[in-house]
């Protein structure tokens, strides 16, 4: 009896503590501590900058995915979409060299092309899902295959490389910093803020949540369900195009191995962050932490030689599961029921 009484006190304190929100943050802090213990260089400025910059790709895509998933959809095509957009951007920029030279104009044409393609691809996904009445899983599984094979075709099975002179002009978009932070991190921050405002402070965000929790009720509440759902895919496409714009200057190339499994990483980031996979509840802040957690895991595994290379996938899987378990926070309540 005394034992239960003793354990009762800390439990109530657990209850007041919001594990749902803090779970991913705790997981990330734990990971950082482990990283630091393995090697103090983990917290060096250079490594943190690398980490943040790397997270930007998946992070930006995952912000878009948060909307799609919150509204009860799913987009499996984002990795292939990024690859094909990167490929077309490179082809367009290489082609524009003759007319516009190797200056900023050409880069802007490439970026404009990326945005148009992203929005277009997102619209196709959304239109087929809503008006075509095909499950999002199937539509985006289909477009995933289509985009992937298109980039293979454009690259003739090999690799598309950006003209060397344009690379010089475009390179700063990935490698340069502004006020101490690399440009990709700034883009990530801006996209995150816009995403947060859109999800939490606008009617559009509320509609996404409403549709995700119960589509029929949303429909009877005079929400234009099809239109809102299509918009989430367009938003996702826009996010993919932004991520691609900062991805291309990194190595100046695209091939069929570009963006492989990004869709799963983006979805994992969203779920780790606390968004519900079946829709109806979304958290942008959590998604950002989720993206950071995923990148940090990879980084830590490169920082140690204690774990066999072959078990990297196992470690990643375990940490993802633990992170989600932490943020579920149900175990506090379950103990109480006992």
């Amino acid at each position: 009896m005394t034992e239960t009484a003793m354990t009762q006190t800390p439990k109530s304190r657990f209850q007041s503590f919001d594990f749902k929100t803090a779970g991913p943050a705790i997981a990330l802090i734990l990971l950082c501590i482990i990283g630091f213990l393995l090697n103090p260089a983990f917290l060096s400025e250079g490594n943190i900058t690398n980490l943040l910059t790397r997270s930007a790709f998946i992070g930006i895509i995952a912000v878009g995915a948060t909307f799609v998933i919150t509204a009860g959809g799913i987009d499996l095509s984002v990795g292939s979409m990024a690859a094909v957009i990167a490929g077309v951007m490179i082809i367009v920029m290489n082609g524009a060299v003759e007319t516009f030279g190797t200056g900023v104009t050409t880069v802007l044409i490439g970026c404009g092309c990326s945005v148009i393609l992203g929005i277009g691809a997102g619209f196709i996904n959304g239109f087929l899902t809503t008006k075509g009445k095909i499950e999002a899983f199937i539509v985006t599984l289909g477009t995933m295959g289509i985009f992937r094979s298109l980039v293979t075709y454009f690259a003739d099975g090999g690799t598309l490389s950006l003209n060397y002179d344009i690379r010089g002009v475009y390179r700063p978009v990935y490698y340069d910093s502004f006020a101490g932070l690399p440009i990709p991190v700034w883009v990530f921050i801006i996209v995150s803020i816009c995403g947060w405002l859109l999800l939490n402070r606008t009617a559009f965000g509320r509609y996404c949540t409403a549709i995700g929790s119960n589509e029929s009720v949303a429909k009877y509440s005079a929400i234009k369900v099809d239109r809102i759902k299509t918009w989430t895919y367009v938003l996702q496409g826009l996010c993919v195009s932004l991520a691609t714009i900062i991805y291309v200057p990194r190595l100046g190339s695209a091939s069929s191995s570009t963006g492989v499994l990004w869709e799963l990483e983006a979805i994992a980031a969203v779920i780790i962050g606390g968004t519900v996979l079946k829709g109806g509840y979304g958290r942008i802040g959590g998604t950002i932490l989720g993206a950071l957690i995923l990148t940090t895991i990879g980084n830590i595994l490169n920082f140690t030689d204690m774990i066999s290379n072959y078990l990297n996938g196992t470690m990643q899987g375990l940490i993802i599961i633990v992170a989600v378990w932490l943020q579920r926070g149900d175990w506090g309540r379950k103990n109480k029921a006992n």
């Binding site: 090697n39 260089a41 983990f42 060096s44 250079g46 490594n47 690398n50 790397r54 293979t152 690259a155 003739d156 099975g157 090999g158 690799t159 490389s161 490698y175 990194r250 190595l251 190339s253 091939s255 069929s256 191995s257 570009t258 990879g298 980084n299 595994l301 490169n302 920082f303 030689d305 290379n309 072959y310 990297n312």
Partner: protein
């Protein structure tokens, strides 16, 4: 009138030559390989097409049928079609995977065709008449020998490996065996999956982790591109630092010809091996000497001196 007579003469000539082709024994050779979905395979596809043109021009009675397949079961079906539809006399096959394609190739052999296996072997010995392959252990060993020639005792290197596979293990084990006892420290090795992006990220992390790295064995030219980008970003590409890749990508070889100090050499694992296999297979019908046997291509060290003979500017790889 003149024109018309010319055309009819031409038509007659074509008909006759076609007839003679049909009557003379046409040697049909099927060439089956995986669909090019990465750069090396795209290079292989290109070399196969070049070899087809060259050999068919050289021998009018040789007909090469090129088929590529996206997965092992599609390749198995393709092999059946080559026998049933084309009635091939010989097969040149680069198996997608060894296990699932052993039986299909055995069935082709039962039809009486000559079998040439390229690169990846089959899981049963004795099926192939001719075997043509690159040399994975040698690739590792040659890379290590070069490292030893450039580095001294106490110098540090890091290794970026490929996808965890048998090929990767063969290369890595041979490298480690050769480097052993040289006093060169291997700080760590990680898989970069023969991929530029992974090469970039793994190298960034190595650079954060180890303040003193003298050389990098990237094993593959795609990984090396990522490694070089990470080195340049960190400003650690000076002081005699160098990167050794492998395979024979045209951009890398161009760089070697131009005297690139950061990637001064490359170790060959030629995508043109399929062309070699096609040559040898045709020779089995045309040569006056025996050609059956194992043809293991060298893992040549490509330096500034010999680079020109490995440079194919039109190939996608």
């Amino acid at each position: 009138m003149n024109k018309l007579s010319k055309i009819s003469a031409l038509a007659a000539a074509v008909t006759m030559s076609l007839a003679s082709l049909a009557s003379a024994e046409t040697i049909k050779i099927g060439v089956s390989y995986p669909t090019p979905t990465h750069a090396w395979a795209a290079g292989m596809n290109w070399h196969a097409e070049q070899a087809e043109k060259r050999l068919e021009a050289l021998y009018p009675d040789v007909d090469l049928v090129l088929v590529n397949s996206p997965d092992p079961s599609a390749q198995a079906s393709a092999l059946e079609d080559l026998v049933s539809v084309h009635g091939i006399d010989a097969l040149v096959v680069l198996p997608f995977e060894s296990e699932p394609l052993t039986d299909p190739v055995l069935n082709v052999k039962k039809s009486g065709a000559l079998i040439t296996v390229v690169d990846r072997g089959l899981s049963q010995p004795g099926i192939e008449d001719i075997y043509v392959a690159g040399n994975n252990p040698e690739l590792g060993r040659v890379s290590a020998v070069y490292m030893k020639s450039r580095l001294k005792e106490g110098d540090n290197i890091v290794i970026l490996r490929g996808i965890p596979t048998l090929i990767d293990n063969e290369r890595f084990d041979a490298f480690m065996a050769e480097i052993e006892g040289s006093g060169i420290n291997v700080l760590d090795h990680k898989h970069a999956n023969w991929n530029r992006d992974d090469g970039f990220e793994v190298m960034q992390d190595f650079l954060s982790r180890f303040p003193d790295i003298d050389a990098v064995w990237a094993q593959d030219d795609d990984i090396a591109i990522g490694v070089v980008a990470a080195l340049k970003q960190a400003g650690r590409d000076g002081n005699g630092m160098f990167v050794v890749g492998g395979a024979g990508m045209k951009e890398t070889i161009k760089g070697i010809m131009d005297g690139n100090e950061l990637v001064p050499v490359d170790v060959l694992y030629p995508p043109s091996m399929i062309a070699t296999a096609m040559d040898v297979t045709v020779a089995a019908f045309k040569s006056n000497g025996p050609v059956a046997g194992r043809y293991i291509l060298g893992a040549t060290l490509i330096t500034k001196e010999n680079a020109a003979s490995f440079y194919f500017p039109d190939s996608p790889f």
